[in-house]
């Protein structure tokens, strides 16, 4: 191969220059009809890498990008059995927020919001982050109490988050039914102005493009078949395109995390459930914020194209099947019409499912494992996409320095054996 030899952590690799996207460039190429350069390159699989990342979703790609840009580690392969961003990273409902319940969770997700805020500039790729505000509705006293709890924890961490009453909710979102004579009246909401939605594919592609131009290799259609160990130490990875020798493997496969961890005989506290979502035909913009209702098990936002994107709670039994169900559509329609009766004649365009690796405490599992050189960035349940940048950044720091950063220390795998759970159920999902 023509590439120059690399050393661990070396910056010696030859790099392709990324074409800088700009308004000027659009005009120039429009006038001259010149081709745009490729965003991603295809590579032959080499025999050795310093770091092998399994899974080219937002977590794997972000990890690869921050390894290269923050730590100069570019001899990295990202292996993907299907196509880039084809799992949860392309199937989520693209909601970004940091109004969690535990102090550990709040500061972690807030770092992610901060990274997302400047991601378009960092990656030179428009990720269309729209911080339009996020409302978590309370329909009973118990949820109102949790909202107040969350608001206080959030404020202590300096996050814009407060409880507002039903009248204020109706002022922000006029189409919501805030009257008292509904089955589940809206009593108030947790209002989180920095929350919003993003173009999730753009985040994946932006990270992939930036990482690839820094020298990272992304191998799509490359399935990991096994991980070789010698004396509980990782020595290599067997893939559908050949074997790789490496001492460092990162499991970033979310819903499929158990199948990869099984390869090193590591039993994980994970159960994979499908989570279904749906989208309507596009209509004029009328929904100014992200609406979440825990009691009604539904959340909705309107994309820049005008479609309403709905999500729900996870399916009630574990499965790796991503087929949609009629129960989901019926339940979704019934619940969303409780909130916004005026959209009753809107048509659903499509529904789909993604896989969520649920943990017992609704917090992720990140860091080292008993197998040396096998790191995990899993347990992303229903909240993986919003944590992509911070997880990538922190995992990259762990790989480069060998020390677990403070920000993710609470989310280690050993917490389940030690009984140090980080209970985030009250803020991480709508399925409770």
């Amino acid at each position: 191969m023509a590439q120059t030899a690399t050393t661990t952590g070396g910056r010696a690799r030859t790099r392709g220059r990324a074409a800088r996207y700009s308004a000027f460039d659009i005009v120039r190429r429009g006038v001259t009809h010149s081709e745009w350069p490729r965003s991603f390159n295809e590579h032959e699989l080499r025999a050795t890498y310093d770091v092998v990342i399994v899974g080219a979703g937002v977590h794997g790609l972000a990890c690869a990008y921050y390894l290269a840009v923050n730590h100069g580690i570019t001899n990295v392969a990202v292996l993907e059995k299907s196509y880039m961003g084809g799992g949860g990273s392309g199937r989520n409902t693209a909601i970004i927020r940091s109004n969690y319940l535990t102090p550990e969770g709040v500061r972690f997700y807030d770092r992610s919001v901060k990274l997302y805020e400047k991601l378009s500039v960092d990656l030179n790729y428009n990720v269309m982050f729209s911080q339009r505000g996020h409302l978590t509705l309370a329909h009973n006293d118990a949820s109102l109490r949790t909202m107040n709890w969350r608001a206080e924890v959030n404020k202590l961490q300096g996050i814009d988050s407060s409880v507002i009453d039903a009248k204020e909710v109706g002022r922000i979102v006029p189409y919501l039914d805030v009257s008292a004579d509904t089955r589940y009246p809206i009593l108030g909401a947790l209002y989180h102005p920095p929350g919003g939605i993003i173009r999730h594919d753009a985040v994946n592609w932006g990270y992939a493009r930036a990482a690839t131009h820094l020298g990272v290799e992304i191998h799509q259609q490359t399935e990991v078949l096994g991980i070789d160990t010698a004396g509980s130490k990782v020595t290599g990875v067997r893939t559908s395109r050949g074997n790789i020798s490496t001492s460092m493997v990162i499991n970033c496969t979310a819903g499929w995390a158990s199948t990869i961890s099984d390869m090193v005989d590591l039993k994980m506290p994970l159960v994979t459930h499908p989570l279904q979502a749906a989208v309507t035909e596009p209509v004029k913009v009328f929904l100014p914020a992200v609406i979440v209702s825990g009691s009604l098990h539904v959340y909705v936002s309107q994309t820049d194209r005008g479609e309403l994107v709905f999500g729900a709670s996870v399916d009630p039994y574990p499965s790796y099947s991503m087929r949609g169900s009629l129960e989901f559509t019926e339940g979704l329609a019934a619940h969303i019409l409780e909130l916004i009766p005026s959209i009753s004649s809107l048509k659903l365009l499509r529904q789909w499912a993604g896989l969520c690796d649920m943990t017992p405490d609704y917090s992720p599992i990140m860091g080292v494992t008993p197998v040396e050189g096998f790191l995990v960035d899993v347990g992303w349940g229903t909240y993986g996409f919003k944590a992509g940048p911070v997880a990538g950044e922190q995992m990259a720091q762990l790989i480069a320095t060998g020390r677990t950063p403070d920000l993710i220390a609470a989310f280690d795998l050993a917490r389940f054996a030690d009984g140090r759970l980080v209970g985030e159920k009250g803020a991480a999902s709508v399925g409770h």
Binding site: P316, S319, R323, E327
Partner: protein
Amino acid sequence: MLLIDCPYCGPRNSTEFRHAGEAGKSRDLASATPAQWRRYLYEYDNPLGWVRESWFHSAGCRRYLSSERHTGTNEVRWVVPFGTAAPSSTTDEETSR
């Protein structure tokens, strides 16, 4: 969409049932250490393949059932009353990942 053939009630939609977890997990109440308890509570096989599990027919006969299901296709191979031996047609080899 999943159809479960309840041995008491006949084929019913899965919405009538509550999933009661992977089968075969156990701990000795008298002697389990905290570590064993936590493994029992938190660790799962979570296989992509055939899995033996339990269901509670909460909107039907309200009895516990054992089944074998493929988590990739949701095909249910058999359902028997809880505590009944698995049908002999399936071997452990087939059920292991």
